[in-house]
Amino acid sequence: MIYNLVQICQNSAKEFGHNDAFRYLNEVISFNDLDVKSSQLAKHLYNLGIKKGDRVGILMPRCLETAIAVYGILKSGAAYVPIDPFSPLERAKFLIEDCGIKHVITIPQQIKKIKKLTLKNKNLTSIVGISNEEGFKSITWEDVFKISLKNYVPANILGEDLSYILYTSGSTGTPKGIMHTHNSALAFAELVVDLYDFKPTDKVANVAPLHFDPSILGYFSAPLAGATTVIVSDGHLKFPVSLAELMEKEQLTIWFSVPLVLVQLMLNGGIKNRDFSSLRWVLFSGEVFPTKQLRALMKIWPHAIYSNIYGPTELNQCTNYNLYEPPIGDDTIPIGTTWGNTEFKILDENDNEVKEGEVGLLVIRSATMMQGYWNNIALTEKSMYNLEVAPGFMHVYYRTGDLVKLNNKGELLFLGRKDRQIKLRGFRIEIDEIENILLKFKGVVEAAVVLADLKEEKELIATVLTDKNSKISTKDLEKHCNNELPVYALPSKILILDAFPRTSTGKINRKEMEKIIKP
């Protein structure tokens, strides 16, 4: 019986020891090596005094060592906290202080950043992955891999123990640390293996960086099935042609990313001339996949099955919708139905269930749900909906803050975030609705609408990316909007941009967008 994430690594080493566990560019690590090397890291951390409940940082770009770091930290009994190496130093400093990180795992290329961090954070006492420098204790990977496992006693890890903390981007205020246990992560890993029938022969693409929750699939679901995880490099994600080449070369069978990466592959990757016959599942989450783009992709790769996966990081994921045939019409595809060990309710503003087919806020109860927000009990309580089902017995639901309704097939439709519903001059406007209208125009690849503070008044500004081959003018788009939108929801300006500013997870960075818009 498996009840913690560490057993994934141990069991796969026993059963598929010589299989590739993780691959990155030309590097590879087998399940056997992953098991031994992560135990060596765990022993090192244990010798440093790490105990259960402690947090250890991982400051790494996409690389093979991330896998050793993840399993090594978990084996020591601690929880891992990914720190995005590409985020500003201040954010890294905030994370380290916020969750009291004393040890950080890294790679030699990050030395400049580490030096600055150790100067700013007095609590940061030791670093794994770089040679000894003045001012702080450190150990190289080479020396970690020399540690003898004689007398190594693995920590006794329970399902309820803390496994990792993922921080939100903080696009709406201070970053929040989302705490998951071994139970909630393992429940997700197992559901995915079951739903998509992961096999030891599968090759699973891990596109997401470690601090973004889709990485849980690549780092835990794939190893659970004995499959190989192919960590896609940062470079490949910037060049769709290179990415397509990698996909073909690695003969990937399961893909999982935000829709954006797939759209870029399709538009700029030259995928029509390559062989992707190995691909059996195309999974996507994080944002809405524009239906016409999805249909176009499904026509290029007709042999794969597609799955729209939905869920905030607080829940790992919670619903899915499989597509076997390209969708007809341009309506947004459903987020589908809740998966195993999960249930939902749709509530109005007063926490009463809405009538069937009405719009309301989605709340979810699931085995994959987080423990809460790090060091913030008030926020955790605010984000939960408690329902007493028997005296003294509560069902706890997470409030997603997403507006949904059920269609006549009993599938959930995502209608936007509650906080993306704005009021302008007294009118209630759905930002997502305006974006969807823009996306319906032929040649529009992506759309982002922001409410910008220009001059005295707030104004709706629409920005779009267009297909290079189409010659769309802003006039065409204005006309299109005039025909489709009520007057009060019309953007006051439409801008055609070359590219959008993005967050490190590939989502549109709306804060930065406002800066671009402002003259």
Partner: protein
């Protein structure tokens, strides 16, 4: 050519201040010096400054990994 590209990256495109200067062989992609938007801007800059057209199939890691590889690529085009 090398110097003007380095200067452009350092002064216009880099996400953070690059200490000790940018080296010819520094990895522009895996190190976080440039994000996707920065890379697109760099390609536009190169197209304009050296009067070349970067074809879609030439937008690959090998051509844009380092300043050195960018210069090699440009020289192969002019």
């Amino acid at each position: 050519m090398e110097e003007s590209i380095i200067k452009h990256i350092e002064q216009e495109l880099a996400n953070e201040e690059i200490e000790d200067g940018l080296e010819l062989t520094d990895d522009l992609l895996g190190s976080g010096i440039l994000d996707s938007l920065g890379m697109m801007k760099l390609i536009s800059f190169i197209e304009e400054a050296y009067s070349i057209q970067v074809a879609p199939e030439e937008m690959v890691i090998e051509n844009f990994m380092t300043v050195e590889s960018i210069c090699k690529y440009i020289n192969s085009k002019v």
